[in-house]
């Protein structure tokens, strides 16, 4: 098990290096190149000599790999994600406040998704082709095809301006854990993100369980006289768990992407809104810094999912070489 964890750790580290290389290289591709920020600081009509001097001051005249190395030490040793020239603040300063809010939103929805989608998929598979199954599959299909912001608009219209009159906007100047002390304003954003997750995961769970149910060991279980409940929970459920943990790990980027949209619709001040704001300001270091941070969160989530998979399924530890 330890060997497996170490192997996965090394793999994740390599992947992280590639992500860093991507976020580091992107500004080079910008029309103005890496000297583009100089024109923000010095003004659009700054002359070439001043711009070149500014570049030298900020070490932009060094070769690519030297700069990449100092970028790596910055990120790893000082947790420095760069400097926003547009807002004249360090990127970390801009986003530190909002990380907990986004993470709480995403985590709560992920947990709810797991607790709703897995049982739902299991029930759908065991009652295949009943009215309930058709209704759930159809709903998931439509939700899956709907842009996430449209779902938010419809939910807002129905549950905030229509019935129930839930608050349409969570307060912004409160502690990140306000979600748990005063949950009412957070119901709609969390519900939207959860619904999006459930639409994808329950569909996958149903498919996986259906595939498991035709395996030989299920027939054996039935033949030796297991009750329907035992077959479903002890045999089918456990074997479907592996693929589900993997897909949960892989769905993390979609989770954060969904959170971004939901934050913009509900004006929930988190990393997503910061990204969109920075993008509208053309503030590239901030956008890249947040993208990097969210990627790191995703990688950590994937790593956890893989370790969890190694625990629930011993075969993985041996196979994944």
């Amino acid at each position: 098990m330890i060997a497996y964890v170490i192997r996965r750790l090394i793999q994740s580290f390599v992947v992280l290096l590639i992500v860093l290389l991507v976020t580091f290289t992107l500004p080079y591709l910008e029309p103005g190149g890496i000297l583009a920020p100089a024109y923000i600081v010095l003004g659009t009509h700054a002359n070439k000599v001043t711009v070149a001097q500014w570049g030298v001051q900020h070490g932009m005249n060094h070769p690519f790999f030297i700069r990449f190395w100092s970028y790596l030490t910055q990120v790893f040793l000082h947790f420095d994600l760069g400097h926003s020239f547009k807002q004249n603040m360090s990127v970390w300063q801009i986003i530190a406040l909002y990380i907990p809010r986004t993470v709480w939103l995403a985590l709560t929805s992920l947990l709810l998704t797991i607790f709703i989608a897995i049982p739902l998929g299991l029930v759908q598979a065991s009652r295949r082709n009943t009215t309930f199954d058709y209704a759930a599959t159809g709903t998931a299909f439509v939700l899956y095809a709907m842009p996430s912001f449209l779902l938010c608009i419809l939910m807002l219209q129905t549950f905030s301006f229509g019935i129930l009159h839930l608050p349409a906007q969570p307060p912004s100047g409160v502690a990140p854990w306000a979600m748990f002390t005063d949950p009412l304003p957070f119901v709609l954003p969390v519900a939207c993100l959860t619904l999006l997750g459930v639409a994808g995961i329950s569909r996958f769970m149903r498919g996986t369980v259906l595939e498991v149910l035709v395996q030989d060991y299920i027939r054996t279980a039935k033949a030796k006289g297991c009750s329907k409940r035992q077959v479903l929970f002890r045999h089918a459920f456990r074997n479907a768990l592996g693929p589900i943990v993997t897909i949960l790990g892989l769905s993390l980027p979609a989770l954060f992407g969904g959170a971004l949209i939901i934050e913009s619709v509900f004006n929930y001040s988190g990393l997503g809104i910061q990204t969109v704001n920075a993008a509208q300001l053309l503030d590239i270091p901030t956008v890249l810094g947040i993208t990097l941070l969210v990627s790191i969160l995703t990688l950590m989530g994937n790593l956890l999912a893989d370790i969890a998979l190694g625990i629930v399924n011993p075969r993985v530890r041996v196979e994944a070489r």
Partner: protein, 304 residues
């Protein structure tokens, strides 16, 4: 091969001269039997045609930025404006098709670019295996761990937001998931007996790729392409919704929905619901066609 006439007649249900129905014909029949899938194709086709044809027949001004000064805005549906007007005075019905032109064209083009790149990358990784596969897959892992919408936002911040660029950017970055699926296929087919046999008979790698691996993974490629188009349309609309999409005077469905969303609290339902209906129906039908295509290529459903 000589077979008794009775046997031929039993096997061959539609009385052609061949021994069995050609493969593509069988597959086409399976698709035709799926009524909902046929309806989806018809709907999608008519929607695409409508997006290009309706603006020619139903004349509305969709480009004048100062229209709201001369034309009534936020007006309820009437005989003059069938689905009312939006907050800029644009006719909503006309605008649905005007924006649809961009949404659908961009989605389809971007989707096709993703499938080309995904196929090439996946084939190389899956077919060569070993160290090539490891390196290519680790790169994919890294790219896939960057949440896609964040990456898109980064791209449109770094570069321009022109129509061509939006197609290219979704096309050039959207293929990572596809590559993974096709790589799995290529890996599987490379190890199957017919590929092994071909290789034993001295076929070149290129021959095996083009003669065996590619034709046998076409089913997945076609299915994945369908879903890619749907994804591209959705991502494009998300960008539009965030105000980072196509620039005026052009528009797309995402931008329109964002406009409508800010008006809907005032009760101007016609600015969101009709478009939302068309939008969801388009994506649902694309996804349904994808599902149906997957069934078509299921070997189990073919007559043998």
């Amino acid at each position: 091969m000589s077979t008794s006439p009775e046997f031929t007649q039993i096997v061959n249900k539609d009385k052609s001269d061949n021994f069995i129905t050609p493969l593509w014909r069988q597959r086409f029949n399976i698709f035709l039997n799926n009524k909902l899938a046929v309806a989806s194709v018809l709907f999608l086709f008519s929607m695409i045609v409508a997006c290009f044809l309706v603006p020619l027949l139903y004349h509305t001004n969709q480009t004048d930025q100062n229209l709201a000064l001369s034309s009534p805005w936020n007006q309820a549906p009437s005989a003059h404006h069938w689905l009312g007007t939006d907050s800029n005075g644009f006719d909503v019905l006309g605008r649905i098709f005007f924006g649809g032109e961009y949404s659908l064209t961009l989605g389809i083009l971007a989707g096709f670019i993703t499938i080309i790149f995904g196929t090439i990358y996946g084939m190389i990784a899956g077919f060569f295996g070993g160290i090539v596969d490891t390196v290519l897959m680790r790169i994919l892992d890294a790219l896939l761990s960057i949440p896609y919408i964040f990456l898109l936002i980064t791209m449109v911040t770094l570069f321009t937001r022109s129509t061509v660029f939006l197609i290219l950017i979704i096309g050039l970055t959207g293929w990572w998931g596809n590559a993974r699926i096709i790589r799995g296929d290529a890996m599987l087919i490379r190890k199957l007996e017919y590929s092994q046999a071909s290789s034993a008979m001295g076929a070149s790698r290129l021959h095996i790729i083009f003669r065996h691996v590619y034709p046998n993974s076409i089913s997945n490629i076609v299915t994945v392409a369908t879903f890619s188009v749907a994804d591209a349309i959705l991502y494009l609309s998300a960008l539009g919704f965030l105000g980072l999409g196509i620039q005026p005077p052009q528009t797309d469905w995402g931008t329109m929905l964002q406009n409508g969303a800010s008006q809907i609290t005032n009760g101007y339902w016609w600015e969101v619901y009709p478009l939302a209906f068309f939008f969801v129906l388009v994506v649902v039908s694309i996804n349904y066609i994808g599902d149906a295509l997957r069934d078509v290529f299921e070997v189990r459903l073919l007559e043998r």
